[in-house]
């Protein structure tokens, strides 16, 4: 799998959970690394992590599991907090325990793309896991054969506090939305890292100010141009280029998480409202 090289995003997102850091027992999951190919309407076809997780190569399988954990840990954590009404500490343990058991027992290897979407399958596994809490606790004690993940639970908890979901929220929809959020966060982090590496600080600053700081203080193109000493046409050109690159990173991350081209197209439509 092309994720063998440590991706910039995993460096960016390697925020440690203090409790786990003290124990010195963690590894950081890495999303599949972005490719260096030029941007195009379609991301290059690659083996998805879902294929790798069912493959024979143990190393590739481990990396694929890490990638899946990186993409899904936050939706899983929030889902456990909401669906199972667990306290933060419990939800953290269950999230860690779930991925540990999933890797150990080969949950993801048994996924059949013909029968369900991976997201649905994962949620079903998670529900089964949490409902058998005793087994989860045992797995936690054993460590599931895998050291705990380095996950920024504090930020996930902060998000839940900042924008709590409605009481009657549809949990399936919520899980999907959180997964989309995690996907975009990954794409933005990759874009940021790529821009930093290639010295494109001004285009990213335009993108950050206009597209990431959305709110009542979002400047107009003209205001942003004055702020950064750029003509308006340059502002829109930078924005256009950054958005295009964001889409490429997003589609690459998405492609890696889909089991087939059909699923990829379907998910791209759900996420972006258009085909890849």
């Amino acid at each position: 799998m092309p994720g063998a090289v440590q991706s910039p995003v995993s460096l960016v997102t390697r925020v440690t959970c203090v409790r786990r850091q003290a124990a010195g027992l963690y590894w950081a999951p890495a999303m599949p690394a972005p490719s260096a190919e030029p941007a195009g309407p379609f991301p290059p076809t690659r083996h998805s992590v879902l294929e790798a997780v069912r493959g024979g190569d143990a190393d590739a399988r481990r990396r694929a599991c890490e990638a899946l954990a990186a993409a899904y840990w936050k939706p899983v954590y929030k889902y456990v907090r909401l669906r199972w009404r667990r306290e933060p500490a419990d939800a953290e343990d269950l999230t860690q325990g779930f991925f540990a058991v999933a890797f150990e027992k080969g949950f993801f290897e048994r996924f059949d793309p013909e029968r369900a979407r991976f997201r649905t399958y994962l949620r079903t596994c998670l529900d089964g896991f949490v409902s058998k809490e005793r087994a989860a606790a045992r797995a936690q004690k054993r460590g599931g054969g895998v050291v705990p993940l380095s996950l920024d639970f504090e930020s996930a908890e902060g998000e839940l506090t900042l924008s709590p979901p409605a009481a009657d929220v549809d949990l399936e929809e919520y899980f999907h939305r959180e997964w989309v959020r995690a996907l975009f966060e990954t794409a933005v982090a990759r874009l940021r890292a790529r821009c930093a590496a290639s010295g494109r600080l001004v285009p990213f600053a335009v993108f950050e100010r206009y597209d990431l700081d959305r709110g009542p203080d979002t400047p107009t193109y003209a205001q942003l141009g004055r702020e950064l000493d750029l003509p308006v046409t340059q502002v829109t050109n930078h924005l256009s280029a950054m958005r295009r690159e964001l889409r490429r990173h997003l589609l690459e991350a998405l492609r890696a998480l889909c089991a087939s081209d059909d699923e990829f197209r379907h998910e791209a439509r759900l996420v972006l409202g258009r085909d890849p």
């Binding site: 900042l162 989309v180 709110g215 256009s240 439509r269 972006l272 258009r274």
Partner: protein, 331 residues
Amino acid sequence: MTLSDVTLEHLRAVAGEPDADGRYEIVDEIARGGMGTVYRARDRELGREVALKVSLQPGNEAGLEERLLREARVLARLEHPGLVPVHDVGTLPDGRLFYAMKRVRGSRLDHHFAAEPSIPARLRTFERICETVACAHAHGVIHRDLKPENVMVGAFGEVLVLDWGVARLRDDGVAAAPGPVDEAPAPGRTAHGTVLGTPGYMAPEQARGDVEGTDERADVYALGAILYFLLTDAAPPPDGSAGSPRRRNPAVPRPLDSICTRALAAEAGQRYPTVQTLAADVSAFLSGRPVAAHREGPIEWASRQASRYRTPLLLIAAYLVMRAALLFWPR
């Protein structure tokens, strides 16, 4: 980093925007449908604002691009104030087909009349919709998806009929003459058995997928359904059993009820034969003349005459009252 809900929605919208960095600059999204998305865009060359309708995906899955192209060609061919002029057709850098058209402002018909209870005002708008559809029929184009969502009403009451993506070109019409519309590839034509349209607004023959039997009278049916909507503020039932609007709104005048019922006849042969005849009946009702679809009784006749000649009748009555008063005034 954490993305707020507002930022996430914004990013989803902008990341899905087409790569239109040549002549057009995307400003924002206006609407989204099954065939494509409409964006507000700026034409850099001509320095004006336009609307870009962009197909959902590159390639021609489900014939969507052909429909988009067909719609553009139909609109380019028809010239009427009720139709949006098309400026340009092309392919975006990401491979998606688009056409640029005049940016229209206004509200959808179903939203426009939410706060307008006046039946005459609604009927005048309906007449303009009929005029536009009649123009299309004269050029051999049948819309096949007329419904309130596909009609825009401007600030001054002007009407625009949109979404010609499933329009059918009648072989014996002007559209059959050599020209770009007819050069559309054969797969763009609707196969027999294919159902295109919207339940409630679709004529029964259209709902059955009877493509050969679907002609201008299918649009007459849809216009009848729009009239039903304007008279009752409710969409006709999706099973095609709309019938009389008076059953839903007893305040609907009987002649209008008859017009609507005739337009919505299940048998195409019992409907108005053309959109012009439907529009003529509505105009007759508005001006107090007899309506072809309705046989009125003596009381209705008297009531209509009284309504039509209200002013002279009131003057005569006032004159007679004065004469009577002068005759019997004590001297």
